[in-house]
């Protein structure tokens, strides 16, 4: 997550997801924004907080096998630049989504739950907690 250009690629990926959803004719703009938010958070939850181990063999005698990607990042050091970035993006996306859904109640509840599902696992207190 510290590689050069990966944050830009990540933001562009979210933009691409939004455009794909926007191109579906029968979705309204609020629905598209909520879907963007929910799909992004679901993907982040799966790839960062559910899948454990590495998709390739590592020379650490299997130490990383029981850790999620989020716990493996930066060797477990908290409050690094990548961690801050990956914590802020869902929040920014949530603000945008709330704005574009005109703070409609149903959208707001769904998006808030979705946001919390990716913020809570990122808390340092929950590092390594199962």
């Amino acid at each position: 997550m510290n590689s050069r250009g990966i944050w830009l690629a990540y933001v562009l990926g979210i933009g691409l997801l939004h455009i794909v959803l926007l191109s579906i004719p029968f979705f309204s703009v609020p629905v598209v924004w909520s879907l963007t938010n929910i799909i992004h958070n679901m993907g982040m939850y799966i790839f960062l907080h559910t899948v454990k181990g590495t998709p390739f063999e590592t020379p650490d005698q299997g130490k990383a096998r029981l850790l999620t990607h989020w716990e493996q990042m930066d060797y477990g050091v908290q409050f690094t630049a990548s961690r801050k970035f990956l914590t802020i993006t869902p929040i920014v996306l949530y603000f945008l989504t709330s704005f574009y859904t005109k703070y409609d109640r149903m959208h707001f509840i769904i998006n808030t739950v979705s946001l919390l599902s990716v913020l809570i696992p990122k808390l340092p207190q929950l590092h390594g907690v199962r």
Binding site: S3, R4, G5, I6, L8, A9, L12, G13, V51, K52, G53, T54, P55, F56, E57, T58, P59, Q61, G62, R65
Partner: protein
């Protein structure tokens, strides 16, 4: 870098790690993302029986036992590597010389299985082997001493150095190594990897600190882990990062107890075989003297490949060999043999003779291999009455400079030091890596390509190893093929003005 007593380098130290434009990195991640998504789709299909799973999985009877095959850990192997795996582990049916013969093989199921067509692809130019001085050769007249060794001692000694596996060939070899390197004593081991992984635990233990370069070889990492010492990693070839770790180690000592470290061992390599970079040895020696640390130099790729007499980076930077506490190297590359050595002060080597795991348990180096190394050492030192060795060292240096300069002129991004015979050419995208290797084989050139996770995700590359045995015609043929592919695959990413 001017210091009180002059500059550390007697010649300009030039190495480059040019970065590609940002959009290349973004497209690379996008490519990996698309292939990963399809990987998940394929795994989904395999799980639900929509597709036959060809990877190794447990049988039904084994499912309740500890899993043998880590499913997710083979995700990349199954879904990325498999798709381009025809570029790796190619069946070579000749010695790894400047040219070799390949068995042609084809696949009917996208590289899950291969079958031979029976055809041999002859005289493929070998740009992948570490045959730096071209001593991987098999002509009769050069190998007479090796044949004698087989007559006298047979092919294997089947015993350790502490028992009957100790012959006069070993002693002659070790004296010659010590003389070649200009140190008091040396010891040879039967396996290059084990020279690191079995001797580092004999040198340091708990209560010691190892400062290791982040790109060190796996054998060094394994040896450091087996030793039980505390390991701290500094950025690749970055002296500020190393000095910061040294200062912290001296100032703070061991964690919790704050006791001073028993020993601080800096471990670096002479030439990094994936980056093509050369260690900043003069600066590291200055740091080790300043902070009273020990220095362990792994010359696996640099011994025989760099320096006016082929004595490695110590000679290349014109330093005193005694400044390096532990000189290590292997015979797998330049010497066309196998095994490794550790050299330094006599008391160090004598200590290892008694306490090294390899000396006690491992079968010692077989005599013909030792004899091959002696042959090459004598050739390098001119003891065989010829200047072939020195000519080859100069030939390699010339080939390296020529090859690097031409690639740079063509607009490719190449990494590393200008005198390093390992030339990584950056391809970045995973698909271009596979296409490059295939297209080069179509032109009868064998190259090694490397991708994630052996390299950082956005830095897939082709790695050329120059040899003194490569003729000008061979190099020009390779360069014109690369030039052609540069346009065909659009891999000229360098933004430096072309000289």
């Amino acid at each position: 870098h001017s210091q009180a007593n002059g500059v550390p380098y007697k010649k300009p130290f030039f190495e480059s790690f040019e970065q590609a434009p940002l959009y290349i990195a973004v497209l690379t991640y996008m490519g990996y993302g698309i292939v990963t998504l399809f990987g998940y789709l394929r795994d989904f299909m395999r799980t639900w029986g929509l597709e036959k799973c060809r990877a190794a999985v447990e049988r039904l009877e084994q499912t309740d036992f500890v899993p043998l095959y880590q499913d997710f850990e083979n995700f990349y192997t199954r879904n990325l590597y498999r798709r381009v795996s025809d570029n790796w582990n190619r069946p070579i049916c000749s010695l790894p010389g400047p040219e070799f013969d390949l068995m042609e093989r084809v696949t009917d199921d996208y590289n899950w299985t291969f079958r031979y067509t029976g055809k041999v692809i002859k005289n493929v130019i070998n740009m992948g082997s570490y045959n730096y001085l071209g001593f991987a050769e098999n002509d009769e007249k050069n190998l007479s001493t090796v044949a004698d060794a087989i007559e006298r001692h047979g092919l294997g000694l089947c015993s350790s150095r502490h028992e009957i596996g100790n012959t006069e060939v070993h002693e002659e070899l070790e004296n010659l190594i010590a003389r070649f390197l200009g140190v008091e004593s040396a010891m040879a081991f039967g396996m290059g990897f084990a020279t690191n992984s079995m001797n580092i635990p004999a040198l340091v233990s708990k209560g010691c600190l190892i400062l290791s370069d982040e790109l060190n070889h796996t054998s060094i990492i394994l040896g450091a882990r087996l030793s039980g010492a505390t390991i701290r990693v500094f950025k690749h070839n970055n002296m500020k990062s190393l000095e910061k770790l040294l200062r912290d180690a001296i100032v703070h000592g061991q964690p919790r107890t704050r006791k001073p470290w028993k020993k601080i061992l800096i471990i670096v390599e002479g030439i990094y075989s994936m980056e093509g970079s050369v260690v900043r040895l003069p600066e590291i020696v200055a740091l080790k003297k300043k902070y009273k640390a020990y220095l362990y130099l792994d010359e696996a790729h640099s011994i025989g490949a760099i320096g006016p007499g082929g004595r490695g980076v110590v000679e290349y930077f014109d330093l005193n060999p005694a400044d390096v506490d532990v000189l290590m190297g292997t015979f797998t590359k330049t010497f066309g043999a196998a095994g490794g050595y550790i050299a330094g002060k006599k008391e160090l080597v004598d200590y290892l003779r008694v306490n090294s795991h390899s000396a006690v348990y491992a079968t010692s180096m077989s005599s013909p291999v030792a004899q091959q190394i002696i042959r090459v050492l004598k050739c390098l030192m001119g003891l065989d009455g010829t200047t072939i060795g020195r000519q080859r060292v100069h030939r390699l240096a010339a080939n390296t400079r020529y090859f690097r300069e031409r690639l740079h002129q063509m607009g490719f991004i190449i990494y590393g030091h200008e005198d390093s015979p390992v030339v990584p050419l950056l391809l970045f995208m995973p698909a271009k890596t596979g296409a490059f290797a295939r297209e080069m084989l179509n032109r009868d050139i064998g190259v090694v390509v490397v991708g994630f996770p052996a390299t950082p995700i956005a830095e897939s590359r082709a790695r050329f190893c120059i040899s003194a045995a490569h003729t000008q015609e061979m190099l020009d043929k390779v360069l014109s093929a690369i030039d052609e592919l540069g346009d065909f695959l659009h891999i000229r990413f360098s933004r430096h003005s072309r000289s």
